[in-house]
Amino acid sequence: MKKNFSVFVDSVGNINYDDMTLSASLKNNGGLIASLFENDAMLRKRECKNIFNKKIHCLLFFMDGMAKSELVDESIAKPVIELPISNFEGDVIDFLAENVLYSGEIKKTADVKELAGALIYGDTLVFAEGSEKALIVNSKGWRTRSIEQPENEKTLRGPKEGFTESLLMNTGLLRRKLRTPDLKFETVTLGSRTNTCVCFCYLNSLVNRDVLRTLKNRINKISIDGILDTNYIDELIRDNQWTPFKTAGVTERPDVAAARLLEGRIAVIADGSPSVMTVPYLFVESLQSGDDYYINYYFSSVGRLLRFISLFITVITPAFYIALVAFHKEMIPTNLALSISEAREGVPFPITVECILMLLVFEILRESGVRMPSNVGAALSTVGAIVIGQAAVDAKFISAPMVIIVSVTGITGIMVSKLKGVVIVYRLALVLLASTLGMYGLIFGVMIMVAHAESLTSFGVRYTSFMSSGRLQEIKDIYIRFPWRFMKTRPFNIAKNIVRKG
């Protein structure tokens, strides 16, 4: 009695599982599954009977490509067919689960929704003649990418492995770093169509309960049909919708995620994405790198200071240059003023237009560098460096100082790539302010930006925590990195238990 699939579906496309019930008839149950997965060419159906006992008559369903066929063959089909079964008592399905199947993970259910979900996720469904329930037998075995070093977060020293698209592999990687029962994994399923498994991990004795409660509340309110990456979650649950600052961290490295858990943060892993979100997230984390802790602290402190300076340079330089050249010419040292004046002689555009054009060109080059196939990289750098730099200056399209300004801006911008969004928006805003209001506009803009950053929170924790703290213990990992010997506490407003070492 095969029904048409459309019977199960309501007007908006949601599948109504309430009307579906299993019966004792193997034929009915098989028909139900077959009609639910109508037109799905990947569904595999296998009927098998025990050679010693004709009463044992089973129907197996599994998805090709999701289930591992060796497991279906060896630990499900083979014992059902070959084991010498004479007589048994009770329900046939219980007997199969307890005495026949070899698999380590078996679940009995009559819920069609659960059965369908498991079938899709690679498990094998076992129906038996005469039983109103079915078994979900673990046979997951799809192909995943192997563990590689993340392209975006390369380090010189330290662990090189990165998260993959498989949730189980990712939780495994984390667990290997933090081998304690204190490490907790909780899962929820999000997305009405993707049914993505989302897992929060935290260290029970360190996590800030308020943050955990807020996170859970917000995640439970999510209503969306698909979650393909943790960024979907971030955008749906962030504290301030419109700020360019990221208020949730992202990492592809298990060591970074583990270090954040050790500071009392919570990691959110979504199945299907190697990007792991960590909350709460502070501004200073954008300027920290996993590398900082794996190399000598003098060296990493210099690196971190450079990142702070770079942030400042990349946001301010173009606006500062415009303010100087257009408004405050007396502030330029005389020789430089002469050089700039000479270079700008005959350039057709006002300095603001010139600056915005060049910034645009740089962003285009950067973006095309990210998107292009790797084998045309050489062509791009030639176009970028020679055509746009040298030729444009020679042709008097733009002035040479502007090329220098934009290059400095670009290079320093790459150093603080985690703040890319913030930097682009603010840089442009400052350029516009500086070209209308001069140095006053620049200072005014910076003040507004700092005030905005200060007003942000990440899951209730102040976003710019510790940046202006007067307490020594709190700034030991902010502008420079102190040796581990001296970093005795965890961030006090994130972790519940702040003593890191005695």
Binding site: A323, F327, H328, K329, T334, I351, S435, G438, G441, F444
Partner: protein
């Protein structure tokens, strides 16, 4: 909503009512490097500005100067006349020096310096110099000995000479105003002239211009200027020479501590000047090349005597010939003994001040290499 209602008007005030309003890109201006002020032929002033520009060369652009000139009733009017004729706006903030012609300086500095002090673009830290034996604008078009932009050359010459030779101290606009306004001290300015020799012409410091109030009175020679700088306590490094017959001693002074102590002897003020010099012998020609310990001491004493005599002569000349208190003896006494000074003060007071000079020279790094 409440936040927007309060914050938004404030933001609008901050952006619409304030800000810098002088948008003018740098290439649309003439960067003025120096201003020369002379007495005009038809009008009160003849003002010449030197504009620093660049010229595209084969490889690197080179400097080029542009000189514009106009006359006017006042400095401001003359500058306005230049602007009216110029193709771009004159930008005065990069100016390095204000040069005042001898004739114009004799008529009075205040009417010239006033603009430099008041104008928002002109800096009060600009150096002021006087052109001696030539017009101020001639200095700007003098043949080059290095810099193309003459104003920067003048500024450099003042700085180098102030540091290495301490001929005459650099005087900025505000220092000049202070000196003119201050009773008990007379204003001085560096004097520049064009040195003409057979093969080259170049700018050089030729001494110091001495003012009575704001009017040019006389010039001091280079050697007198050196003594003046020393007595002002502004000497950093300098050279001293002494010549007797064939014997020439050149002394490099590394450090000069000047101590001027005013006092009173009865009704009359006394000035005690004590100089402590650290010096080394740079050159010693003549017959006695050997520097034994005794010889060493003899030379030192001779030099001390010589310097002491020079200073006494110089101070005497200031009192009896020049009559201007450029060393600020009056103001020093006034600061220490205001009541007595006010009682004593009279026209030509310098003549009645007794001056005692004490000079000590210490040789440094002389006689180190001695093959006994």
């Amino acid at each position: 909503m409440k936040v927007y209602k309060t914050v938004l008007p404030l933001l609008l005030c901050c952006t619409l009512l304030c800000g810098c309003g002088n948008y003018l890109e740098i290439e649309d201006t003439f960067l003025v490097s120096g201003i020369a002020v002379d007495k005009g032929e038809k009008d009160n002033f003849s003002v010449t500005v030197e504009i620093a520009g660049t010229e595209s060369g084969e490889d690197a652009p080179s400097r080029k100067q542009l000189i514009l000139s106009a006359e006017g009733k006042s400095l401001y009017a003359a500058l306005g006349n230049i602007s009216a004729a110029a193709s771009r706006k004159l930008f005065l903030s990069q100016t390095a020096v204000v040069i005042i012609g001898e004739e114009a300086a004799k008529d009075g500095l205040l009417q010239i310096i006033d603009l430099a002090m008041r104008d928002t673009e002109l800096r009060i830290t600009n150096s002021v110099v006087v052109a001696k034996d030539c017009k101020a604008k001639e200095l700007l078009s003098a043949p080059s000995a290095g810099e193309t932009i003459k104003a920067y050359e003048i500024k450099n010459v003042i700085k180098t000479s102030a540091k290495n030779f301490s001929v005459t101290p650099d005087v900025t606009v505000y220092e000049l105003i202070n000196a003119i306004g201050n009773r008990g001290i007379a204003a001085t300015l560096p004097a520049f002239s064009i040195e003409k020799s057979e093969k080259m012409q170049s700018l050089a410091i030729c001494g110091t211009a001495v003012f009575k109030d704001d009017k040019l009175k006389t010039f001091l020679s280079t050697s007198e200027s050196k003594l003046m700088t020393m007595l002002m306590g502004k000497t950093e490094e300098t050279t001293l020479a002494e010549k007797t017959g064939d014997d020439i001693i050149n002394l490099k002074v590394y450090k000069c501590d000047t101590d001027v102590k005013p006092g009173f002897k009865g009704e009359n003020p006394v000035i005690n000047i004590s100089l402590k010099l650290d010096a080394g012998i740079d050159e010693l020609t003549g017959k006695d090349h050997v520097l034994s310990a005794g010889e060493h001491e003899k030379i030192r004493q001779r030099l001390e005597e010589k310097l002491k005599k020079d200073i006494e002569n110089f101070v005497g000349k200031l009192a009896f010939e020049t009559g201007e208190d450029i060393l600020g003896f009056g103001s020093r006494i006034y600061k220490k003994y205001p009541d007595k000074w006010l009682k004593f003060k009279h026209k030509g007071y310098l003549k009645d001040i007794t001056c005692r000079v004490n000079v000590k020279i210490k040789f440094r790094s002389t006689g180190f290499v001695n093959k006994a």
